[in-house]
Amino acid sequence: MNKMEIIGISIISCIIFMALLSFGIGSIIDFPKSKQYSPPSIQNPLGTDDLGDDILELLIIGSRTSLLVGFLGALFSTIIGTIIGALSGFFRGVLDDVLGVIIDVFLVIPALPLMIVLAAYLSPSFWNIVIVIGLLWWPTTARLVRARAWQLKSAPFIESLLALGASKTYIVFKHVLPNVLGIASARFILSVSHAILIEAGLSFIGLGDPTNPSWGTMLHFAMTRGALLYGAWWTFIPPGLAISITSLAFIILGMGLEQRQKLSTRSMEDII
C-alpha cells in the first residue's frame, strides 16, 4: 500500500464508522428537541437547526444516505460503463460504431442538468437517485475501458485465442473483462467521489429523498429555511465539510490505486 491509499482508507473507515453509528441513533423525529438555532455548546456539540434538531445527530444520520447512494450509484455506473466499454472496444464494426456514438453523445450532453430533469420526473427516493446516477454517469468509464479493450485486442494472448477459434463473446467475458478490472476498479473509487457530490447536489436542489436525509439535504434546508441569512454557520459548515472530506478521501484512494497501476501521467485529469 502506498501513502495515498493509506490516507484514503483511514478517512473512509472513519466515515463508514460514522454511518454505522447512525443505526444506533434511529430516526430524527423522536428526539427531544432543543432550542432552535442554538450555537455549539456542551449539550449540542455542533449546535441546532431551525427546528431544534441536533446538527451532530443529523450529520451522523446523513452520512448513511450520502455514503450508500454514492457507493451504489458508482457501482451501477461502473458496471454499465465497463460492459459497454469492453464490448465496444473489442468488437469493431457496427457494434462499436453504435456504442461509440452513444458514448460520444452522452459525453457531450451536460450530465448534471440531465440528472436534474430525470430526478424531477421520478419521485424523490433513495433508489431513484441511485438509478439516475447509475444511468447517466457511465460515459467516462466506458471511454477509458474502451481504450484499454482496444489495446488488449492486439495483445498476443488474445490473438492466439482467436487463432485457436475461441468465440469473441467468450474472449470478452473470460479474458477482456478480467483485464480491464484494474482500470474499472480505480474508476469505481473515483466514481464514488463523484456520486457523493452528485447526490449532494441533487439533494441541495431539493430532489433528495425526504425520508432519508443526507448531507446535501442539510445544505438544502440551510439555504431554503434561512439559516444562511440568520448567520447560523454551524448548520451548514459541518455537512459541507463532511461532503468535501469524504469525496476527497475517495479521490486520494483512487489516485493511489491508479499510481499503483502506473496507468499514465495524464491520469490526474481523468479524475475531474
Binding site: 460520444d104 430533469v117 424531477a120 445544505l219 439555504m223 459541507g240 476527497l248 475531474i272
Partner: protein, 327 residues
C-alpha cells in the same frame, strides 16, 4: 482518399445533430413514459384538475399537443413546435417558456463567458508551468490543492463566501441580480462573488488538464532538442508546448464552457443569480416541467454548439486533423 477524410469530419458534425435529436427525444419521451397522465407534466396539477372536470378543455389541450394521435405523429408535432420556438407554457410563471429562457440566458452568459475567458488565460499559464518540471515539491502540492478544490461542492463554497463577505463583512449583497437600471458599480457589486467563485473553480479545472497535456508533450524528444539548443523559457513554452496543443486546447475550451455551464447552475442557485441554473431550481421547486425542460434544452444546445465550434476550429487550425492523420 481525401474526400473520405473530409467526410469523416462531417460525420463528426453530423453526430452533434444527432445529439440534439437525442436531447429533444429525451424531452419528448420523459413526460409520456412516466406513470400518470402526461397532461399533468405538460400543464401542471392545477390545469389538469380543471381539465378533468371540463371535457371540452381537456379535448382542446389534447388536440393542441396531439395527445390523441399516435406517438410518431405526436413527435412530429413536438418537433414542429420546437422549430417554431414554442417550448410550451410555464405554469408557475403563466408565461411562455421561450420568453423566460430568452430573458435569463443573458444573465448566465454574463457570468460564464467572462469567467471562461479569464480562467482559460490564467489556467493555461498555470497548467503550463505546473506541467513542466512537474516533480518539484511546490508544483506537486499546488496540483494536489487544485484537485482537492474539485471535491468541494460549489454551492457550499458559495454559502461560505456569502457568510464571510455579505453577513460578516457586509461588503456584498446576499444574492440576486442587479436591478434593471443599475450602473456599472452596482453590477460589479452583485456579480463579484459568483464571478470569483466560478473563475476559481474553472481555473482549477483547466490548469489540471493543461498540466496533463504539457507533461505529455514535455516528454517528447523535440522538446529536449529545443532545450539543449538553449531556447528561452517563454519561447519553448509557446512554440513547442502551447502550439502543438492548440487543437486539444480548443476542444478543452469548448468542454470548459460546458463545465462552466453545469458548474454555474449550482453557483447561481446559491447566489440567487437569476440565470438558467436558478431557473432550473425554480422549476424543480414548483415542479414546472415545461420550464425545466426548456432550461435543460437551452443549456444542452449551448454546450453542443460550443463543442461543434471547437471541432470546426481545430479542423481549421490543426493540419493533423485536416489531413486525417489523427485517426
Amino acid at each position: 482518399m481525401k474526400s473520405f477524410k473530409k467526410s469523416s469530419f462531417f460525420l463528426k458534425i453530423l453526430r452533434y445533430g444527432f445529439t440534439i435529436f437525442i436531447i429533444i427525444s429525451i424531452n419528448f419521451i420523459l413526460p409520456r413514459m412516466m406513470p400518470g397522465d402526461p397532461l399533468v407534466f405538460l400543464f401542471g396539477e392545477e390545469v389538469y384538475g380543471a381539465a378533468i372536470r371540463n371535457p371540452q378543455l381537456l379535448q382542446s389541450l389534447s388536440e393542441k399537443y396531439g395527445l390523441d394521435k399516435s406517438l410518431s405523429e405526436q413527435f412530429l408535432i413536438y418537433i414542429g413546435n420546437i422549430i417554431n420556438g414554442d417550448f410550451g407554457q410555464s405554469f408557475s410563471f403563466g408565461r411562455s417558456v421561450a420568453e423566460i429562457i430568452a430573458e435569463r440566458i443573458p444573465l448566465t452568459l454574463m457570468l460564464t463567458i467572462p469567467s471562461t475567458i479569464l480562467s482559460l488565460f490564467i489556467g493555461t499559464l498555470l497548467g503550463l508551468s505546473l506541467g513542466f518540471n512537474s516533480n518539484s515539491h511546490l508544483k506537486r502540492s499546488v496540483s494536489s490543492f487544485l484537485i482537492a478544490l474539485h471535491s468541494i461542492p460549489s454551492y457550499w463554497f458559495a454559502m461560505l463566501l456569502l457568510l464571510v463577505f455579505s453577513l460578516w463583512l457586509n461588503l456584498t449583497p446576499t444574492g440576486g441580480a442587479p436591478p434593471k437600471d443599475a450602473n456599472i458599480i452596482s453590477i460589479l457589486h452583485h456579480i463579484a462573488l459568483p464571478f470569483s467563485l466560478l473563475t476559481i473553480l474553472n481555473i482549477a479545472y483547466i490548469s489540471i488538464i493543461i498540466r496533463g497535456l504539457t507533461m505529455e508533450i514535455a516528454e517528447e524528444p523535440f522538446v529536449m532538442t529545443a532545450r539543449s539548443k538553449g531556447l528561452s523559457w517563454i519561447k519553448l513554452r509557446i512554440r513547442h508546448l502551447l502550439l502543438p496543443s492548440l487543437a486539444p486546447f480548443l476542444s478543452l475550451a469548448a468542454m470548459e464552457l460546458g463545465f462552466a455551464f453545469s458548474g454555474a447552475l449550482l453557483v447561481e442557485i446559491a447566489f440567487s443569480w437569476p440565470g438558467i441554473g436558478y431557473t432550473m431550481w425554480q422549476a424543480v421547486v414548483e415542479r414546472d416541467y415545461p420550464l425545466l425542460q426548456g432550461a435543460f434544452t437551452a443549456v444542452s444546445l449551448i454546450v453542443v454548439l460550443a463543442n461543434a465550434i471547437a471541432d470546426v476550429l481545430s479542423y481549421i487550425f490543426d493540419p493533423r486533423i485536416r489531413m486525417g492523420e489523427n485517426e
